[in-house]
Point group: C2
Chain length 244, copies 2
């Protein structure tokens, strides 16, 4: 079994770490890569081919994990050479996922939930071909959402709708509590019903959202664009909150 | 030790159940009560005096637990006869709490968190006199917030700010998930990070909010009035959402 990577960043590197088996070989290419990526690849136990075309042709599973912006171009350029599965793990919208699926056979819509560099990320798959990836459950938690391409990306976006809006709510309510000189008490009282980890989780969400507010705003905008026909009162308020 | 009640509904009845001791006697009056309340009182192990004035004068701890609307009037009428502690447990705003405190000495601002008819409600107290209630921790979970009258009511309101806005968020995001035919998957995927009880809790919050949307809206309006100087983007969105 050969798994090929287009893109060799955090996702690919950690998948290699998680999927360790004598029966699996990993391949990629240095074609057009930055010096830093080349350096990273050379540290890993991975075979390097001359071109990405060769990587795609040789892979039983080709994993596209580069960047949301380049995901579609990668599929346009290399999708047609796929012999096995083409698994997209970029953080892209259901629409882009669907668009990509046109350029390759045996396409699998994949979404990573949780931190890929942790010990327990979960892969969500959608599309008929995802059945052929079920063996990965020996190495990593995974779940097939449905046969419908786009459902994994959509589910990730739905999750994001909740978590990002929740962060905006946490920012607002803790601000009011702070202005009332009852911030600690606010977290403590909520921990009683929301679980003992509430405070730490809430503070980590608030900090993470404030430190990355530009990116979080963009992601909320993407959600609003995608679910445009829905009533999005809370999500739009969250975007407004983050833009302050 | 004598504990007297003005108001004999769910709160008073359950406090009697929780605070059981040979050293404590309970008193109340049937004065002006409804046939139903009279019937309820007669079922309990409680001494009945002719008037509330007598109840207040005899109580070491007088508990006002009637209704948010009558809380202030009760204090105006009976507060001046208090010899011991006057504990208000009505669900009232910090402003009303402060207003009530003018009509009686040894006032304690009390707030009930959790369901009073469960085994683990928690009482929050504020005000200097709350130290004299600390012995209640033998019977019921309790916490003193501060010496500042209004802080217990304020803390309850801050909690409410979060939980009611969260319910609006749960309603909105689960609606979108449902329209995407991914409602179960939406709850499942969030349970991974929000805890195994997430789904049950979320559904109970959604149902409870929808079934009581008028009252919940009024409570959100009260929050918006009270914290009017704060930036309340998320809370206002929650009110808008509930009004649909």
């Amino acid at each position: 079994m050969i798994i090929g990577f287009i893109g060799f960043g955090k996702v690919s590197k950690n998948l290699m770490r998680l999927i360790k088996s004598d029966d699996i070989a990993f391949i990629t290419s240095l074609e057009g890569r930055s010096p830093k990526t080349i350096e990273n690849i050379k540290k890993e136990d991975i075979d390097v081919l001359d071109t990405f075309k060769q990587v795609v042709e040789k892979s039983d599973i080709l994993i596209s994990a580069n960047s949301p912006k380049s995901a579609l171009n990668v599929a346009k350029k290399y999708g047609k050479y796929t012999k096995g599965i083409y698994l997209d793990l970029n953080n892209i919208s259901p629409d882009t996922t669907f668009e990509i699926s046109k350029y390759t056979d045996n396409f699998v819509d994949g979404a990573i939930i949780g931190k890929i560099d942790s010990d327990n990320p979960i892969l969500y798959f959608a599309g008929k071909s995802s059945d052929e990836l079920l063996f990965l459950s020996d190495f990593i938690q995974m779940k097939k959402v449905s046969d419908k391409i786009g459902d994994a990306s959509k589910l990730k976006m739905l999750r994001s709708t909740y978590t990002k809006t929740l962060s905006a709510l946490l920012i607002e309510s803790s601000e009011i509590a702070k202005n009332s000189n009852l911030e600690d008490e606010f977290f403590d009282i909520l921990s009683l019903t929301e679980g003992s980890e509430f405070k730490d989780k809430a503070i980590s969400r608030i900090t993470n959202t404030i430190n990355n507010s530009k990116r979080k705003s963009e992601e909320l905008e993407e959600i609003i664009n995608y679910f445009g026909d829905e009533e999005l009162i809370m999500v739009k308020a969250a975007l407004k909150k983050l833009n302050r």
